[in-house]
Amino acid sequence: MIRLIRSELRKLFSTKLWLWLLLGACGLSGASTALLIGFADQAAAAPQSGVPPLGSDAFAQLALAGGANAVVFFLILGIIGMTQEYRHRTATPTFLVTPKRGKVVLSKLITYLGVSLLFAVVVNVIVVAVALPWLSAQGAPVSLSGDNLEVVLGAIGGGALYGMVGVGVGALLRNQVAAIVGALIYLFVAEPILRSVPATASAYKYLPGGTLESITATTVNTDLLLRWQGALLLTAYGMVLAIAGWVFAVRRDIS
């Protein structure tokens, strides 16, 4: 298994994809935190915006949660990590070297969990590096402890788990474009609809997007699972997707 993880790392870092996705994740997270703090005055002048006032605990947590905006990049990273084997037809040499295809899927789950964790740390270090000095300069210093720290750790954990879930999605769908588009439509269209319909709203917290939110949420939100429950359920989603992918898609003929 160590060999296969090393092989997956070599695959990932021998093309430029990781760099673009990491830059994108850092840029989006850093920018969302910067915009929130930079425009805090305007938000305060318009109470209907829902942004808590500068200096409150809620505002500090919202600023520190910038990294949670980047988790979708890790989902895409995991999806591409799995589906590019089919897109570029490298599944043939990969499964020739490792005929037990389940081991390949497992090694990708572990690799993308680890790489997403590492990248999520980088992203959140940037968010913290933007937020802490700037908030101090604004006269609203915050400490990276307690609930604030939990928010940052949640964004890191959520990112890592989404990388693994991406591998599961990719294993099931195999087609790269279908997997990415399908995952994004599910997260940004289907789940919000389910959440807004009263009959299904209470189920939202158990869905992949809802479990992610429970991990990355600030104290603003309420009807969600506890962080550890969300993390366990999201891990289970990744595993179930990967096992389903292995059974229904990855084991199929490579022709």
């Binding site: 021998s14 994809l17 005929p99």
Partner: protein, 326 residues
Amino acid sequence: MSLPTTDNPESAAPARVVVTELSKRFGVVQAVDRLSFVVEPGQVTGFLGPNGAGKTTTLRMALGLITPDSGSTTYGGIAYSALPQPSLRVGAVLETAFHPGRNGRNHLRVYCAAAGLPEERADAVLAQVGMTDAGRRKTGGYSLGMRQRLGLATALLGDPQVLILDEPANGLDPEGIQWLRNFLQHLAHDQGRTILVSSHLLSEVQQTVDRIVIIAGGKLVREGTIAELADPARASVHLRSPNAASLREALVGAGAQVETLSAEELTVRGMPIAAIGHLAFTTGVELHELRTATTDLEEIYFRLTAGQEEFKATPLPEATVAEVSS
């Protein structure tokens, strides 16, 4: 050719490849139909058949990428998926596709890592296929010939005893084909490896291989050594003579099968060329031409490929011909 190799204990033992009763159906098409053949060590075996004959499906089944409906393939008695370290026993090239953004050397290092081989093997096999410089470039810019070489390098990583190559000459220039021929013969004849090479072109493999397995419609058509199948003594003979009719009588009387092509031309089968020349001499018939036409092998293969409906050319309508010629 002295090459850096791994200390590969697996590759020491010569391995026969035994294909037994393989079958695979895709929908209504019986792609491979109870196909059996053996690939012996120390020889280059050609796996020949027209396009769509089932060659690639057979090779993919043999390597565990496609699950056969029935039948099996073994390497030294073991199925591919049961080999403890398949890359050290069997190297295969089925695909000339690579991630376009990865360079050739890194492509090889990916599989070094997966197979537990030292990374130096990547450089060794690049040198072996003459790609040392190109290995630093992204595969997206490779020509088909370079892709073939990188594919071959991938197969050679584990220094395997068995090599299985699907259409390896595709896209190679004449010099590349010559190189591949010498390379494969060296691996088989001098190093005793077992080599199976598929092709849809007889001319491509005829001078490379020692044995040949011909399939069509997923079934075995003929299997044998080139020496047997392409024996000039058993080839048909083409002759031209102003006295073709009387020579024909003499030939038929001597037991040959004769086909009359024109008033002056005959094709003779079942009699060696020297015997035909002698018969013409003793019967006092003047000869203007006497040559070997096609070998047994060529005839078999032409018959197979001629029957392929999908490649039948339709004659141009006369109007079009007139326009073109005017």
